[in-house]
Amino acid sequence: MKPSEVITIVSLVLSIALLLTLAYVYLVPSTSVRDLAVFYLYTTYNPVEKYTAYSPEGVTAIVWDYRGLDTLFETAVFYLALIAGLALARRLFAETTVSSARAGLSTIVKTVTRLTAPMIIAVGASIGLHGHLTPGGGFQGGSTIAVAPLLIIVIFSVYYLLASGLTTNKMLALRSMGLAGIGLTAISALLVGLLKGEHAYVFQNMPKPDSLVGLPSHIGEFLISGTLWFFNLFEAMAVAAGFTMAFIVLLLVKEVSGNERRDH
């Protein structure tokens, strides 16, 4: 590290510290809460309130109930990005053949991965499916689950994953099922309302004062918060399958281009 760099970094840190010292009055959050936050906190789990979401986890309630349309479009953007990535690699992974599964790292690493990969998937499923009760949700759980196929790809080679049945086509089908499930859950209350001939909304979760159609907040004794549990389930499916597919395609492109180089 040269002296000029040290001086630059130290002066940068000191100037930012000075700035924060002068501006701390505006940075430290105030103790009063805004009206919108009060509304969210009051209604997110409140059985006597008419506009409740029946979810003790306020963030998931905001993400999938109060502001559900934003999250739907985020999911659609992620889906389109994956479709674009697949379209770029469409010729490359189509002609790949599954070779022997003798590649990968040492037996110790493989055994550890065999033990930890189901645990990662279990933790991801717990984060995703308990998203309406504890911090977490569909995207968090899905991206945690996607770490397990990534580990398997790196440690066992991508052909092991393909030979065990996790092909790109199956991942694409799972991804599309997840997105279709999110869409169906979004209009489920509307469909029920149309069948019963009552007034209902798109993205409706609980019954509202002007629309008595809604999804049940409990199944048996278990709190599922209406649509939130289904949204989290389908989102976790879609995100995990999407990331897995992206990793398989990224690695297969490398393998196929290596073969082509050998042919020429």
Partner: protein
């Protein structure tokens, strides 16, 4: 209320802010190492270290949802993608 080393009482919030300041400084250090490192694999690992400091920061800022999404994405998935991409190019950055 816990006591500091000169006997004054320190509020729990102050300790939280101190840990946050420490995590921020360490993350700046990790970013510096990631930028200066010529070996790209090591740079990705420094970037993952920075991500884990950020995850602790998000947790201390009472955003456990963001911490939960930052850990798998910042420590697992993005380094995975970057290492796959580095394996297709050269590992060491040239001047």
């Amino acid at each position: 209320m816990t006591k500091n080393f000169v006997g004054e009482s320190v509020s729990p919030e102050a300790i939280t802010y101190l840990v946050m300041a420490l995590m921020s400084l360490l993350s700046v250090l990790a970013v510096y190492m990631a930028i200066k490192e010529k070996d790209l694999i090591k740079a990705v690992i420094y970037s993952a270290i920075q991500s884990s400091f950020y995850a602790i920061l998000y947790y201390l800022l009472m955003a456990p949802d963001i911490a939960l999404v930052y850990l798998p994405v910042g420590v697992g998935l993005i380094p995975g993608v970057l290492i796959i991409l580095i394996s297709k190019t050269e590992r060491v950055e040239k001047d």
